[in-house]
Amino acid sequence: MSPSDLAAPWRSLGLTDWEYEQIVDKLGRGPNRVELAMFSLLWSEHCGYKHSKKLLRALPTEGERVVMGPGENAGAVDVGHGLAVAFKVESHNHPSAVEPFQGAATGVGGILRDVFAIGARPIALLDSLRFGEPVSSRSRYLLDHAVAGIGHYGNSIGVPTVGGEVYFEGPYEANCLVNAMCVGLAPQERLIRAAAGGVGNHVVLMGASTGRDGIGGASVLASAELDEGDQLKRPSVQIGDPFEEKKLLECCLELLERELLTSLQDLGAAGLTSAAAEMASKGEVAIDLDISRIPLREPGMEPFEIMVSESQERMLAVVSPERLDAAFAVCERWEVRATSIGRVAEGDALRVFDGEELVGDVPVRALVDECPLYDLEPDEVQRPRYRAPPELLSSEDPAVNLLALLASPNLTSRRPLFEQYDWLVQSRTVRRPGEADAAVLVLPSGAAIAVAIDGNGRRVAADPERGTAEAVYECAANLACVGAEPLGLTNCLNFGNPEKPGIAWQLTRAVAGLGDACRALGVPVVGGNVSLYNEGPQGPIYPTPVVGVVGELPDAARAGRLGFANEGDAIALAGRYAPSLEASELAKLRGKPLPNELPGLDVDELRRTLAAVRGGVRSGALASAHDIAEGGLAVAIAECCIAGGVGAEVALPPGAPSAPTGAASGPTGAASGPSDAPSAPTDPIAALFGEQPGAFVVSGEEGALLALDAEIAVIGRVGGAGMRLRAGEASLEVPVADLRHAHASGLASFFP
């Protein structure tokens, strides 16, 4: 601590002098140590969203199927038959960069609590991970331990990890990203909100005892850039105990089933302070807490430590006096510690007592609703310039390029990772990782939900607006491939320091792109999370909005698969495919710098294609469906061959794989204006490996394919033991066994 920090202790807690003055103003006096600690956390970026809240207001949040929108612990959508699906994605980046196993594990624990806090049983987990290149030993260490941590928590608690994604890029070397998404299922009438109510009701703390772990996690770790002193922050990382959470989860769900709770809230960032303040704020009541009643892990904890501890596996409930005994009986049965630590009161204060002594008295509104909000000062001129990646590939031979792409870290098989996760517990998993473009979970009615998570930071770095829109389109495409239509979306915005104008520009454009894409596809945003200050000594991460989408399909038995299914089936390219090598995976392997923007696309055409593919999967017309993403058409076909265990013979029509002649028309939402209409590549390498969202590789009977209401070009047949692909002058022929070998090799060596 520097001498100036001793005179101004709020600085080391992450508050500015101006913010401190605001606090003094609102209290009418200087805050004491407890109050200052509480303000510093709730006014941190992580809890208060002070640099992002204004932007996020522009996102579309309304929709017919929305049951719970942003502001609650998780969003929820109606899936029919009286059921709701709740879901949310959240980051645990900085803790994972400091201590990857526990950071990732407690990230999972935290997102699980968010979902059962609203009364939904967690039925699926997904994760979105970003690391530096695996040639770096630090990246391999982070990957290995983060994956083990995710598995440790999810596997132990009995919630399947059904999907996810991981990318490796240099800018994540110092600051990895670990985002976890949880999906829950509940009868609609059992969903519960966090608003405290009923003056005189008990405030009950349930679960683990309170220790010194995670003190200041939200402000010290989550709301500041990483630097070289980070090993010293290790005590700010919490330790997870999935067994404790398993008991807590079952206990809370039973309490809700028996209608014993008035409201429920998890303890996450900023611990008890945040939980109690949120409940009081939403219920427009006061809460009095007596911290001397809180079970502690160690003696001598200061009141401020108790109030901000981020000890895991704790929940706060409001219980009416006449239900208290029954509630305690349920807790005892589950061996969950439960203590009445306070009461709901009239007024607008969060009062903290230590026995008889009042040690903190703060207006709830000031704490929660009056967190200062800042306008960003975006400046495109100052946008971060990212170093071009090293050149790893220079061959013009299509087969060499294909095999290199299949073995590259971003495209290689994720089997060594997902085999470390239990993806089948709870008996709902209809499509396992690797079987289809989205995870599919059957519902009691025989219908199903599909879930996908996506975000390509490199493309967002090239073009924040279109890159972010592409993440939404990609999720929608993944869902279409299993026959699902999106119902709602959650997001986690992982960016650098928003106080820097270039980062502010990335964030502003990305949120605009997200909103436009959601509006274009009619998908409401039901919740999300923001993780800023993701920077290391070498600079900011790629801006990485991660998007999670939940959709529905009417019949689980007809969920689509990505692998070619039948010898002799026709293979078609569906949708307007105008591939470009700009910001593609091949461009990365070739060491190309990022462009300054991405090509646009015709959103009307995309919508039409999505509907056609979705319909084709649902009707059974399509034997397989796979969207063309990283690595372009050639990689997509190779993946269909590998997953199906069968070869294919494909020839692209001369000139171009598709015929996007003329300008894009109609409202194009986030993406293109007429002048941006992509032109067909004449370069066969671009035709094979170029990327552009909105196109699919589908297979089935030729007549059924041609009947789809989309741009359709039959380009080949399923069959044989090899993949043969021709595009103009360029051609390749590779045995499926070799494709499989290359695809399996990329990460396998790290997980012997």
Partner: protein, 215 residues
């Protein structure tokens, strides 16, 4: 009636209950109960019984319900341990050997094939000897081991098919029973192989075998 034990950290008890319900009446047995309430076969399911931060199954073996389960087993009643249940039954001394951490030292979740070595048990009577079953595994400590001098005496019921051993178990053992055949433990999860929608129905044979003795 089949009873499925539920420890506070069980994960697959609902799945096991559903699978058992396909072939017989089934109910949950809470770990604090000391009586089997008339069930005539017991499944000890997968999961992490009491967290398993200590050696897997080491605490569960002492839980109140296990007293009744051990009594049923000693009286010749059928007891099936799946994954964590297998570990618990080994800890309880009802089955030979022990489950060590996987050779990879990692959790592994994978569809594997197992071969029926012994079709003469109450759990495999619906199978044929040598028959292959496709059933998923998911565990961190599934590497079955017994000292060399004991191995020849152990009744092996299931073996991983060549190339399918996910954990490095001795002699590719996937499941063993006691000498009298009424206690059976296996690492694969047959309760996750009873519905074609989820990939395989081969696990049903083990449950239907059990149903025909549980009357």
């Amino acid at each position: 009636m089949i009873g499925v034990v539920r420890f506070p950290g069980s994960c697959d008890e609902v799945d096991a209950l559903k699978a058992a319900s396909l072939v017989d009446d089934a109910r949950i047995l809470w770990h604090q109960e000391t009586d089997l309430n008339g069930v005539d076969a017991v499944i000890v399911p997968g999961g992490f019984s009491y967290g398993d931060y200590l050696r897997v199954g080491a605490i569960a073996r002492f839980s109140p319900i296990m007293g009744a389960v051990i009594e049923l087993a000693r009286g010749g009643g059928p007891v099936l341990g799946i994954c964590n249940g297998f570990q618990v039954l080994c800890e309880a001394g009802l089955l030979p050997g022990a489950l060590l951490p996987n050779q990879s030292l990692r959790f592994v979740c994978r569809q594997v094939e197992v071969e029926v070595v012994d079709a003469g048990t109450p759990f495999t009577r619906a199978c044929e000897e040598g028959e292959r079953l496709s059933i998923p595994v998911k565990h961190t400590s599934g590497c079955w081991f017994a000292p060399a001098e004991q191995r020849d005496r152990v009744r092996v019921v299931l073996r991983y098919a060549p190339g399918h051993n996910p954990n490095g178990s001795v002699r590719d053992v996937a499941g063993v029973c006691n000498e009298t055949g009424n206690v059976f433990g296996l690492m694969p999860h047959p309760e996750h192989a009873v519905d074609a929608l989820e990939g395989s129905t081969d696990g049903r044979k083990l449950f239907s075998s059990l149903a025909s003795v549980s009357v």
